[in-house]
Amino acid sequence: MTRSRNKGYLNFVLHAHLPFVRHPEYERFLEENWLFEALSETYLPLLRVFEQLKADRIPFRLTLSISPTLASMLNDEFLQGRYVSHLKRLIELSEKELKRLKNDRQFKPLAKMYNELFSRNLHDFYEVYKKNILKGLRQLEKDGYLDIITTAATHSFLPLYQNYPAAIDAQIQTAVISHGRLFGKEPSGMWLPECGFFPGLERYLKSSNLNYFYSSAHGILFAEEKPKSGVYAPLDCGNGVLAFGRDNVMTNAVWSAEDGYPGDFAYREFYRDIGFDLPADYILEYIQPDGMRVNTGFKYYRITGKTEDKKAYIPEDAAEKAKEHAENFLYKIKNKIRKIAPLMDKPPYIAAPFDAELFGHWWFEGPIWIDQVLRMIAADEEKSIELVCPSDYLKKQKNHQKALPSFSSWGNKGYAEVWLDGTNDWIYRHTHKAIERMQELVIRFPNESGLKERVLNQAAREVMLAQASDWPFIMETGTTVPYAVRRVKEHLFNFTTIYDNLSRGNVNTEWLTKLEKKNNVFPDIDYRIFLRE
């Protein structure tokens, strides 16, 4: 047995996901802003970080998981066009703000900052990526910087569907096919929605040639056998599929607004936005047409805690602080490796997964922090940290302890309570019933083509869209509850209408075509995935 040198592997995992939201039936639709905000504050800024690192010849490597629904939206021409209009509106607002603040020494630089940010975003989105950022991500993967993986097709919280093998199959297979189509290659592993794992899921992953997934820490710690290296070496689930464990401490430093980095007083305050602060008649065009206040992305204050006395944001100070926090993170990682590596027979594997939207959207300076961390690791003389992805690790390390992880997730208390409580438990009897009916349809209509096949494929889409974990999550956390409720009911209603129509032998072609055009996700779906041998 060889003692490890003072060395460890660090695997950053950014999980980018949004549910499928597309409303061509309205001129503007509030929840489409989820995508636009994420593009403006997270995806485009992160792309700029990666491109600059590449231009500066700084080596880096990280895992990026992009959900099939998010990838579909990024690839959709209609939504791309809407984002361009959205950006143009914000640039117009920034010009208005520059006029309004022209004599304000404190806030005018911030209006300028947003003017530059949104103009830059428009340039990158339109000129550089030709409105499709998937191109940029694919190139970074080809260049060896990113390893892009997938997650369940509509981000369903899989443990609550474990009694429906056909549904689990459908979520995983559809995801793999969609990923192959949009990224030109099969994904090597899967990010499980909310790290939701149940014993048995590894068999489905194996059937789809997925080699690994990420688990919450206690999923690993309470595995069937005690993990010899805790979360610092992956476990073989028994069939060759590996489970990589999340390091809570390293990631908490980044997640926590209370005792982690994002809450520092130098950073931009998320909650103060001119969409809420400025008079309605000035801001009306840039919030909702009915006057409902929404975020515009123009936030001028820094975090000052619970006081009403808010202070202006100073970007230079914030950037300095991000650099400091990057140094601190590096110190923590190296310290951890120094303590743990001598106790293991191979270098520890530190998995640090995050929701991508944490960087830039919630923590505005997050992309600067990532940039600094990656540069510092590359420049580190000690070379104790090697940035890897699971596929790299699997080439070097072969023998893995066999132990099946336990049912687990990374939500409150580590199991299913976020997605199954008084606010959202009503969903499951209906989605389960829809799955059973879908299976019934496949048996009754095993070999359809033409119009009937289209109907059945749309039924499959609707069943899956109803299962998105976002809807119960939103109901539990109380952000946009009416919309989430409406979405679940709408998809169930659509499915049931198709089910009833097929039972009566009639198909409303016009209604079907409208629905196909609107809920146009997974164009090559085959309803027969719901047939379980």
Binding site: A38, F222, A223, E225, L343, N412, K413, Y428, T479
Partner: protein, 236 residues
Amino acid sequence: MTRERLQSLSQKQLSTLSDKIGIDTDPEMDREALIDSILEALEEDRIEREQLNNLVVRVKEKKYDISQDEELDFSEFDEYVIPERYNETRIALLLRDPSWAYAYWEIKDTDRNKLKNGSVALRVHKVTPGKKEPDFFDIPVTLDDNSWYINLPDTNAEYFAEVVSTIFGGGKSLCRSNPVYSPKTEFDDSNGSSEMDKENLLLFSGMYDLAGASSFSRIPQRIISMLDNQYLQMKG
């Protein structure tokens, strides 16, 4: 939910809203005072909810937060009506966490009619390997109930549930659920562990900040006490 938005609502809507939230209101209360109470109650709810949310959930919810907590539905009608029930006799069991399961069930009309004079119960069985008959306990329910959160007595055990009719004091099974397996919540110690092993496991758990302050407050409390009880007193 903002003050402005509440101010745009009619008196009737405000009244319905305060009933929904569960605020006691004085009919003589003026509009502004009512709006104040509503905002206060919503804020309290939000703080309570946030405190129960862990870091992942707190950050994750921000990506959906484009307005300010639209937790209330003002729509007058249901655009998409889904069936309340499917008129079949069946029961399903979902595991929520090692100590709680959620059961949902239905009894079809023809069966309900036969039961009108009787009582029904949710019978929860715990399967013990090697034991021929599972242990069970009953939860009395009414014909109008269709779901329940069940406190599971033990972890690391398999359960299933039935809806039984208890007319003659026995229990005629109307339907039986799928099994669920409550996972263990202790480390596998079957091979014994040295003090060194135990300390290593704590180090390897990724739960403790080895460079300084511990992250106790962010770890599910159940896990900390398990780590501590099962093994050792953590210094400092």
